[in-house]
């Protein structure tokens, strides 16, 4: 899964040296104040400090957990509301999800304000299809009389959805199970695609064949095209220096990316 042999690419390097012995890399994304750090601590057994204020995690924390004999390296990304604003924290999160190629990205959401949190989920789904959505803070939701239908959400998003209360470790076993399945490629996901405006869609379609030519097999052509239109220097650079093409190639490797047999429950 990892391309340890590729030594020009800085991210793959950083990935390789931190992950000896780790079978998979899992990224942890989410809005600020969704209990992301609590999930991180609960999964890794580490005690990263958590506080209830936006933007608390300003650096990238890392930990590990094991499941069925396999080690997973968990990377806690800065909490962001979006991946479009290109502020420092959003750049860190976006770059890791795109260029760090995690085997699975967990998006932690707040069950009490799902609408705002889905904004980020939908953006992550445009970049990666290896996503597990964690609907956290279920206890708070219950207190406020909010019920979330996880199965319906799973059908809507096309990726596994797990309800958790990370603070009391509820739902975490299932979360780890789903993450393991997605990381191993055993779950076929069909991420929800947002309907964009007609002109934007048309513009993206014009660029699509050209991007596919430059980086064959790229799973998120639509998103890359949108970023090029919006103005994203990092994406532009990665096209010019071939970084994106390399990622596409790794992802295309037949035995690894496209061998997902099991469908997401409720999807078939």
């Amino acid at each position: 899964m990892r391309c340890g042999t590729c030594d020009e690419c800085a991210i793959n390097d950083s990935r390789a040296d931190g992950s000896e012995g780790a079978a998979y890399v899992v990224a942890l994304a989410g809005n600020p104040n969704t209990g992301k750090s609590t999930v991180f601590n609960a999964l890794t057994g580490l005690r990263q400090h958590t506080g209830n204020w936006p933007g608390k995690t300003v650096t990238r924390a890392e930990g590990r957990f094991t499941h069925e004999g396999k080690t997973y390296r968990l990377v806690d990304l800065p909490g962001t509301y979006s991946l479009l604003s290109a502020s420092e924290d959003e750049k860190i999160a976006r770059d890791f999800i795109l260029f760090g190629q995690p085997d699975c990205t967990i998006v932690v959401t707040d069950a009490t304000c799902l609408e705002r949190n889905l904004n980020l989920v939908l953006q992550v789904l445009e970049i990666s299809d290896r996503v597990v959505v964690c609907v956290n803070l279920m206890d708070e939701a219950k207190r406020k009389g909010i019920a979330v239908d996880a199965e319906a959400l799973q059908r809507e998003l096309g990726v596994p959805v797990v309800k958790t209360t990370a603070r009391s470790h509820r739902g975490l076993d299932e979360l780890v199970q789903r993450v393991a399945e997605v990381a191993a490629g055993k779950t076929a996901t069909q991420p929800h695609r947002v309907r964009w405006s007609e002109p934007l869609d048309a513009a993206v379609e014009k660029l699509r064949p050209m991007i596919e030519k430059v980086a064959p097999g790229l799973p998120n052509v639509r998103w890359v095209a949108m970023r090029l239109l919006d103005g994203d220097w990092r994406i532009q650079q990665s096209l010019m220096d071939g970084e994106l093409a390399k990622i596409a190639q790794v992802q295309q490797h037949p035995t690894e990316r496209f061998s997902r047999q099991l469908a997401v429950e409720g999807r078939q």
Binding site: S82, A86, N119
Partner: protein, 333 residues
Amino acid sequence: MILTNQNSDAKSQQSGLWGWLSRWKARRQQHRMEDLLKHLHACERRRRTASVESAAGFLHVSTRRAMTLIAQAEARGLLRRAANGLALTDHGRELAMAVLRAHRLWERYLADEAGMPLPRVHATANRLEHERVGDQVDELDAVLGFPHTDPHGDPIPSAAGQLAAVPGIALTDWSTGEAGHIVHLEDEPAFVFRQIVDLKLMPGQRLQLQSVDEHGQYEVNIDGRTLLLSPQVAANVYLEPLQELHPTAIAAPRRLSELHQSEAAVIDRIDDSLRGLSRRRLLDLGMTPGTVVSAEHTAMFRDPTAYRVRGTLVALRREQADRILLRDESTGE
């Protein structure tokens, strides 16, 4: 990072005071040369003749020094002496365009992302425009989302060096009753521009000319405010007609800041004058057109106010809330 300027002068690598001094001199020389080209380009655009005297005046140097500089530029093939003064060569125009592009992109960056007051943006950009390292300017362009104009509404040259015409018609050539949106605010002379900034005029605002009084004062209606503009100011405000005169376009729209406590309303749009990171942040928090917001708490001196948006509580300062326009319809309840 965009704000760091590396000293990439590879020519003189001497160390010590002497090396530093010669590097500084070389840089100053480069700045002056580029300013000279800018001046020639400005004259070309305005169909004026550039002369040694006008160049000396623009650069604040003696005529003798200006002559030396012009000779050097000529030797480098950047300009030539024509019958009616100085003219740019194609190569010189290319360089002038690169400087202009850097200047206007930096202005956009400083105004939108760094929050620098408009009157100071020009001077800072004058310094930064000379520090063009690698593809930094192209990066700036992409990071800013490929803007078409600088904060004053002047067009930004494309990477290929294409420069669009200055858009719009001056308010002095506008007829009474006509409505348009501001596309350009001339930033020279500085004292007039300062008045423009003080009047809070910004590109993107919608404006209707009400009348011109006997003293030549222009009475205009801008987003519901009635202002009196002096003739000098009016001459420096450029407008483009509104394609369709929407009935609500000129009528004073309600602003989020005017919402009473516990009152709910629907967002119509974020004002065009709010740009850059501030605008993106508001959108990311879900303040998109059609969203229901309600004012929930307000702090001391009514600033900031906490609004309920999509199930979350978000505090905004009055400046932001002022730029969020509400729909006319009332939401009932």
